[in-house]
Symmetry: C2
Subunit: 355 residues, 2 copies
Amino acid sequence: MTTISIPAPADFHVHLRQDELSRLVTPHVRHGGFSLAYVMPNLKPPITTTEQALKYKAELESIDSSVEYLMTLYLSPELTPEEIRKAKEAGIVGVKSYPRGVTTNSDGGIESYETYYPIFEAMEEVGMVLNLHGEVPSDASANIHIINAEPSFLPHLKKLHERFPSLRIVLEHATTRAAIEAVKALGSTVACTITAHHLALTVDDWAGQSWNYCKPVAKFPDDREALREVIREGHPRFFLGSDSAPHVHDSKSTASPAHGCAAGIYTSPILLPLTAHLLESFGALDKLEGFVSTFGRNFYGANQFADDEKVLLRKVSRPVEESWSAESERVVPFWAGKELGWEIARDYIGNDNRI
Amino acid sequence: MTTISIPAPADFHVHLRQDELSRLVTPHVRHGGFSLAYVMPNLKPPITTTEQALKYKAELESIDSSVEYLMTLYLSPELTPEEIRKAKEAGIVGVKSYPRGVTTNSDGGIESYETYYPIFEAMEEVGMVLNLHGEVPSDASANIHIINAEPSFLPHLKKLHERFPSLRIVLEHATTRAAIEAVKALGSTVACTITAHHLALTVDDWAGQSWNYCKPVAKFPDDREALREVIREGHPRFFLGSDSAPHVHDSKSTASPAHGCAAGIYTSPILLPLTAHLLESFGALDKLEGFVSTFGRNFYGANQFADDEKVLLRKVSRPVEESWSAESERVVPFWAGKELGWEIARDYIGNDNRI
């Protein structure tokens, strides 16, 4: 039987939600093989203070204490350099910038990053990471749309890096060849996450198929190829951030003329087997450890873990579960019903999954 | 009260379906203000013979005899030059080429048009029209996808026109600036239909919103602007073909991981008011008569109609109906619930719609 052992898999971009949905999906981090979750702050209301982040972290730990949760704040005008220093003291790792947040508090342009320069200076000083959702808002008058929103953002990434060369920046969930090339061309403080599903999908897959619809949308085959190439290359500044984004079943399955479906693809419960399956499909299985563990942990300086914190994968063929339910919530994983070529034989806390 | 009178509106691309669904949607041609319907042959099974086309025409006339139905055949290997001559004799007007039909009977490439050259020669000789669904099939290995499928088809259009300069060809439902420019650059025997919904939508509108999903998919704001420009210009080789494509409610509203939603947007029941509304929105209301009647009728030589065959539109603000039902079928029109700025005050057979 073919097996692979991966030390301490780390997902550097995941949505763990709130309340009932959080109780359903948070245990799926471990189920999917991951012992570290870099947690997004876009709750309702968003996590904008150290206190909120610590409270949220405690809630997640009460659901599943086997995972290490790295917490983030939501970039907003309420944030101050003082709060950044306080957050750093409290162990909070990063600040996430969403384009809508930027837009809401500007004259409609991403140029308003300049208003956040005092924040970024404080982050650079204390060593916090800036996580960028790298898309500019659609603007028909400027021919900006969901397909070119990411390439149109890249000049802002370059400008931020030039202004704050020591600030660690992560371009999140890259989907285009342009983004891969831009990050490669920048310095060692700029990294990039790639999701599992963007290694599988193109625009053809989400047209009329809401289960494959997420933001940023999957782009063209050549863009997908660029994501695969940089992983095959084993580039140390490109690593997994799943952007696993659960939504309740009905919000994904059903559209009315007034309301479309929710954006987001849910990969947490199958993440390590899915990633192994995908990397194997394009000849990069030997880069799995770097992509899901070493590279991200090195960039974040998060490389303390026990020697026995390992996940054992074994080669099989088994279908992805159709859904997961708890209380009144139901979520459907990516590729529900499709065959995966790998499964978890033993998780990082030593639980065996016997055949 | 502001009114516009339009002589004999003609929809040069419409899907009237079969059986129950046909009985529901065929009367919507007149309801939407149109007295001519150029009828697509993609039934199950497709309309490939003169007999089938005449039988289908009789069925449509039995549902609503006030509309003139121009019939088409589905391009397939069964078609012969003899059948083309027979079809012409029987009053059939055109032959529709679908990319899938081409692909099924070739080694996967649109190059197989050459196998149809004897058909096209016969069509050129007798004066039938070739209607092209101008997209090449997606092919990830060649980076062909639903966004560049139409531009990638244009070399085939040019080649066909060069080889058959007297053959009247219509590029159907153009969605890109590239297509508009290509058709403008070709000779007087090549025309182009434009749908109403592609004057409204861009890629952002169908992402996660199945009710706005059709093939070809709506493209970028600059492409939409090119469609609007050529109408504002009053170019006589660009005219309305709605591609109105009804699907039953559930096939549009609900996706499972295994099955996405049906492609198609239903505009027939609101077509003339919708088109007036859209043309007014981009400053082309003075081109309405050309776009919905004169240009297409001239290209097809279908300009015989009675002096009193006129539709009177009046300016109002009224919402689009939420749905239409009959027997066990229900269809939802484009822009359900949204306000339109025009309605039909009197239809072409003299029925008043009193306020």
